[in-house]
């Protein structure tokens, strides 16, 4: 039996072990051998993961003794104290943050291990691990912060690490630009998040402390229950933050570019963990979000729209990482849809299964890119099944999982979301009747596309014959394949902790105390018959997508993609160019900002304020004083003397 105080100590270890790694590898890159860098950089995340497992064990003990056991808090010091503001540096372990910590440290450790092989020849090996460890630290702060402000520290911290790692190979201008873009787009979201905090605290009388806030909100007489308009504003502003971090419309644009980073980074940060922060934040604040059905409907709509929008782009991309990037945006859309309809448990469930299969897919893609000596175009690949059996097998399992093939993890989690989209309604009735049906249709449509683009990717990469003659693909080393195998096993079986049966859904039970308040604001109109019926529907959809992909890229309809391309040229180009969203942002925001700032500098600052306002009077004086030039010699002493005389006159006048 582990005591509560021990869990507190473990919390420090969980959070600060990766920080220690970041500092050691960051400060002493030249003093440490490559082996030492690896031991520190990979070992400390594993320490963190081990501590999380111990904390889980301890938490299970506490839950066994008291089924309603709420959370463990570890308070380290007072952070910002001024006037009425009091924010502690305190960590907060509850069932939700525990699940997230397991995902972050578990998958994080595996990806660190994988990186040993992947980054082996990189000149900035220590810097890489330092940044990756710093990311883990920031993500853990985000997850475990008890105060929303500490969560925000992690929130911006992961954004920083994302920036540093996307632009890791900074010699390449495009990569440096992509990193900057990620940071700036996220900052726009963070701006919304910060404003939301101020309204939450100073208008609604809330607090930044999450468990305290929950109590304030739970009070039936609180202003949160009456001022729905303000709650809607606050939650929408928070959601703006989520659209940045979790790459939703309209702020998703940074994520596809983020693929410029090393592939393990894409797996860890831009698939498994950081991008789920928005989903996590909404789930964390479920008790607040459910108070505004309008916000919830907007969240769900944005999620559903992002899911289908990004999936459609994924259908035509040829860069293996770009396909996976749009796939990630699309899958994040599912999670956002889930929390938007109030299916918080389902959202977290999909977050977890997605972490497994998408991390595995990215690492598999990394293994492929590694083997193809940097080639990322799937049109040049093919036939890798035989050359890279382990990569192939793990990639296939994960592809089946994301496509929603029965009995694999993605099937269960996606299905739970689709079911709850139909079943859950706000207790006060729907905001707009029929919305749930629309979301469901979008979700099914995205599911079909997911199966299609993923198997297109799979067939083009692994089956048939190799289409490039320069490459000599080979299987990757064990440090890379072991994580692949572990993740593939997870992608296969992780779904079994969320089986669609009231008594078998372990995850739902585990998270129930966290989401109880949120669930109370919703009614479940669904039945088991509906749920099992939907399983049949999505199974058909999955196999339909896979079948289409097979027919078009392996089977008899191989001319179809080409013909579609020819006959639907405009639509194809639109998809290929990602609906021209980047171009639109560039024209509407970026270029006007540049031109505007130049115009202000030139005309307002230099010409108006300085030219007319400041130097104007000076020139007039110089002109008037031209006659007196012989008296004044033009130096400062003379000016000072003149000013002093003037001053004396003024003083006499005043007196």
């Amino acid at each position: 039996m582990i005591k509560e105080t021990t869990i507190q100590s473990l919390l420090y270890l969980i959070v600060f072990a990766p920080l220690a790694g970041a500092i050691l590898n960051g400060l002493f890159p030249r003093m440490l051998s490559r082996r030492a860098v690896s031991v520190i950089g990979v070992g400390l995340p594993f320490v963190s993961f081990g501590a999380t497992l111990l904390a889980l064990w301890g938490f299970l003990g506490l839950r066994a003794a008291n089924p309603e056991f709420p959370f463990v808090t570890a308070e380290l010091f007072q952070w910002i104290v001024s006037g009425p503001i009091h924010v502690d540096f305190a960590l907060y372990l509850d069932p939700l943050s525990l699940v997230m910590t397991l995902i972050v440290t578990g998958i994080g450790s595996l990806i660190h291990l994988y990186s040993v092989g992947y980054m082996h020849d990189d000149a900035s090996y220590a810097r890489y691990f330092s940044h990756l460890n710093l990311f883990l630290f920031s993500m853990l702060l985000l997850v475990l912060g008890r105060s929303l402000l500490l969560l925000f520290v992690g929130w911006e911290g992961v954004g920083l690490c994302s920036y540093l790692l996307i632009g890791f190979w900074f010699d390449d201008m495009a990569k440096a630009v992509a990193g900057k873009k990620a940071f700036l787009v996220n900052r726009i979201g963070d701006f919304g998040f910060l404003i939301a905090l101020f309204f939450l605290v100073f208008h609604l009388g809330g607090t930044l402390d999450i468990p305290d806030l929950r109590e304030v909100v739970a009070n039936p007489t609180s202003i949160f229950r009456t001022d729905t308009a303000m709650v809607t504003l606050v939650t929408l502003m928070l959601f703006v933050g989520a659209t940045g971090k979790s790459a939703q419309i309209p702020l998703y644009v940074w994520l596809p570019d983020a693929m410029a980073g090393p592939t393990p980074v894409s797996a860890l940060i831009h698939a498994a963990t950081m991008v789920t922060a928005g989903v996590y934040m909404i789930a964390r604040l479920n008790f607040l979000f459910v108070l505004s059905p309008v916000t919830m409907a907007i969240v769900a709509t944005v999620g559903a729209a992002t899911a289908i929008f990004a999936a459609s782009i994924g259908l035509v991309q040829n860069d293996i990482k770009k396909v996976l990037a749009y796939s990630t945006v699309s899958q994040l859309g599912y999670m956002v849809l889930a929390v938007g309809v109030g299916a918080f448990g389902a959202g977290v469930f999909h977050l977890m299964t997605h972490a497994f299969f998408k991390a595995c897919l990215f690492l598999g893609a990394g293994s492929v890119i590694h083997a193809m000596a940097g080639e990322q175009d799937i049109q040049k690949m093919g036939g890798l099944r035989r050359k890279m059996p382990i990569t192939h097998a793990t990639f296939l399992v994960s592809t089946l999982a994301i496509a929603g093939v029965p009995l694999l993890s993605g099937f269960f989690s996606k299905d739970e979301i689709l079911f709850k989209v139909l079943a859950l309604q706000p207790a006060a009735g729907p905001v707009v009747p029929g919305l749930n049906g629309l979301w469901f249709a979008m979700g099914i449509g995205a599911a079909l596309m997911t199966a299609l683009y993923m198997f297109r990717l799979y067939f083009l990469t692994f089956s048939g014959e190799l289409r490039s003659h320069d490459a000599h693909p080979h299987e990757s080393p064990a440090t890379m394949t072991i994580p692949l195998i572990v993740l593939a096993v997870g992608a296969a079986v992780a779904g079994y902790i969320g089986l669609p049966h009231p008594r078998l859904n372990v995850l739902e039970h585990w998270l129930h105390p966290v989401f109880a308040d949120g669930a109370a604001a919703l009614v479940n109109t669904g039945s088991h018959a509906l749920e099992y019926g939907l399983m049949g529907v999505s199974t058909v959809v999955a196999f339909l997508g896979i079948g289409l992909a097979w027919a078009m890229y392996r089977g008899p309809w191989r001319e179809v993609p080409g013909r579609l391309h020819a006959s639907l040229g405009g639509m194809y180009r639109t998809l290929w160019n990602k609906y021209y969203v980047d171009e639109a942002y560039d024209a509407v925001i970026v270029r006007p900002l540049i031109a505007g700032s130049r115009w202000i500098h030139r005309w307002i600052d230099a010409a108006l304020i300085d030219g007319i306002g400041v130097n104007g009077p000076a020139r007039v004086l110089a002109f008037v004083g031209g006659a007196a030039r012989r008296l004044a010699c033009g130096d400062v002493q003379a000016y000072a003397a003149a000013l002093a005389i003037g001053l004396a006159i003024l003083v006499i006048f005043v007196l």
Binding site: F77, Q78, W79, I80, S82, P84, I85, H86, V87, S147, L149, E156, G157, L160, F170, D171, M173, A176, V177, K180, F183, L184, R187, I188, D190, F191, L194, I195, F198, F199, V201, F202, H203, G205, T207, L208, D209, D212, L593, I594, G596, S597, R598, I600, H601, I604, D605, I609, D610, G613, V614, V636, Y639, A640, L643, G646, L647, L650, V651, V654
Partner: protein
């Protein structure tokens, strides 16, 4: 406002005297001994820092009024040598004594023309800056205030760049014009206000009516607004920064600009609270405009120093915003942000100086890809950039957060008339955190990243030990304030509370139609009203 403790050991006088003595020493040493000048200047400034640590240690966190006060007769017409520190000035005193040795150290390789005079000017400037911060007599204050101008003027005019004379004269005339008017104000208050002496504490009690307050606030305010500089009085700053040598820019941005914001908090607001209340709206608007304006204009710059100079306009907009939001956390954040700006902008100018010494250009386009060879430099520049754009965990975040929080609290929970405007100001100011990232990260990307396009950049030397020590010291503070700001905030708390209580009492008194702007202690009902308005709740 009272005197809380009398100094048993005159630490403050020592800290004022040491640089002065150092300057005298340097003047006696022949020009040929360049190394001696450097070493002695550094030694004296370090000694002043050590003495200021004694001030820090002996500073009682719980006291609101002036501490370690020294008082001696000085001039025949009643001006006295009275000095002391309180929570408003202590952080700035430390910032000054901390930055000066670092600046002197940074100048070792940069200044080869007339080094003796340069270090003398630096030490004189330190005494003048410290004197301005600790003076408790208005004549003494004014003497130090004007004394700051001369070494700075010389620094730009002698050791500056190509257009140094234009920049120096502009700097001098612009700020001098402002401060001469302030002198008129000081004399007027002495004569007409019925002040018993030139003592600061007596000035606080002078009886001037609202009409007089208005123009006196305008006179003081203008002097301080120019110094800050508050938009649109800022155009002397980019010229001064671009032409000044690195050390001059560091001191100018690090300390001198704070004299404007300090002046508001120390003099303009407590002397003329009712007028400050009336003027606060236009000043808040100018501050918020300055944040966005400074950021946009910074984004348009092709010269790194100009970029940093305009970023100062934006950052000091935050500082002014905080002090005129008039809530505890906003004013504390404002004071902290003065220090933060001193650290981050000081460091930015030092970093630009490092580049300038190697390549003799400040054009952003002349660089690119230098992170490859200047790894330590790149790390420093990134950390300071993060501090400048207020990333959580760095000092900048704590200051900006407190300022915005205080502004929003005043807007959402304060007087009803301020609500719409307050929210608008807060939102506009908060866009500064996005725009700040835009221009800083764009600069970083252009300077540090991408391929090396200029051959000259291929073999640039990374920072040397001396530069490392200078920059490293600042980075330590970046994280210290970012992670454990309590060390610093706790020292300001009592004085900020007193300042705001006094301010609110008088302004509320005024708004309630008090016959005479309140010199009397507030009655119990008013006090209760104030306490309720201040809000006892704790935001976790």
């Amino acid at each position: 406002m009272t005197v809380e403790t009398i100094a048993t050991t005159p630490f403050i006088t020592w800290s004022l005297a040491i640089p002065l003595v150092g300057a005298a020493f340097l003047a006696l040493i022949p020009r040929a001994h360049a190394a001696a000048h450097k070493g002695l200047a550094l030694a004296f400034s370090l000694l002043a820092f050590l003495v200021s640590l004694s001030i820090w240690v002996n500073f009682d966190v719980g006291l609101a009024g002036f501490q370690l006060v020294e008082d001696h007769a000085w001039l025949p017409f009643g001006a006295r040598y009275t000095v002391g520190v309180d929570g408003i000035s202590i952080l700035l005193v430390m910032l000054t004594t901390f930055l000066t040795p670092l600046t002197i150290l940074s100048a070792f390789s940069a200044i080869d023309k007339r080094p003796k005079e340069f270090y003398i000017a630096m030490l004189l400037l330190e005494t003048a800056m410290l004197g301005t911060l600790v003076a408790m007599d208005m004549v003494l204050f004014y003497v130090f205030w004007e004394l700051m101008l001369i070494p700075m003027y010389l620094m730009i005019g002698i050791w500056g760049g190509e257009r140094r004379l234009y920049a120096a004269v502009k700097f001098f005339l612009y700020t001098f014009a402002g401060s001469v008017l302030m002198l008129v104000g000081i004399l007027y208050m002495y004569v007409k206000g019925g002040s018993a002496s030139f003592a600061y504490l007596d000035f606080l009690k002078s009886g001037i009516d609202l009409r007089e307050q208005m123009w006196l606030f305008a006179v003081f305010g203008l002097a301080f607004a120019i110094k800050v500089p508050l938009f649109p009085f800022h155009t002397w700053l980019p010229d001064a920064h671009v032409e000044a040598p690195t050390a001059g820019s560091v001191i100018l941005a690090g300390v001198l600009l704070k004299m404007g914001t300090y002046g508001f908090l120390r003099f303009a607001i407590p002397f003329f609270p009712e007028a400050a209340g009336t003027f606060s709206v236009p000043i808040l608007v100018l501050a918020a405009v300055g944040i966005v304006y400074g950021s946009l204009v910074a984004f348009a710059q092709s010269d790194i120093k100009k970029l940093v100079a305009y970023s100062s306009v934006a950052h000091l907009g935050f500082v002014v915003l905080g002090m005129f939001a008039m809530t505890h956390e906003a004013v504390s954040g404002s004071i902290l942000q003065m220090v933060n700006h001193g650290i981050s902008t000081g460091a930015l100018f030092l970093l630009v100086g490092v580049l300038y010494e190697r390549r003799h250009t400040r054009a952003i386009d002349a660089y690119g890809g230098i992170a490859r060879n200047m790894k330590v430099f790149a790390t420093f520049l990134l950390i300071i950039t993060l501090s400048s754009i207020g990333l959580p965990g760095t000092n900048g975040f704590v200051g900006e957060f407190l300022i915005l929080a205080g502004l929003f609290r005043e807007a959402l929970g304060g007087p009803a008339g301020f609500k719409g405007l307050g929210i608008a100001l807060g939102v506009v100011a908060a866009t500064g955190i996005v725009l700040g990232a835009v221009y800083m990260l764009t600069m970083v990307r252009k300077v540090l990243f991408g391929p090396i396009v200029h051959e000259e950049n291929r073999n640039l030397k990374d920072v040397n030990l001396r530069e490392f020590v200078v920059l490293g010291s600042l980075v330590v503070l970046v994280f210290w304030i970012g992670i454990y700001p309590k060390t610093f905030l706790s020292r300001t708390d009592a004085s900020v509370k007193l300042l705001l209580d006094t301010y609110k009492t008088r302004v509320v008194d005024h708004r309630l139609g008090g016959a005479k702007a309140g010199m009397d202690a507030p009655d119990q009902a008013l006090r209760a009203h104030l306490d309720a308005a201040a809000g006892g709740e704790v935001v976790r």
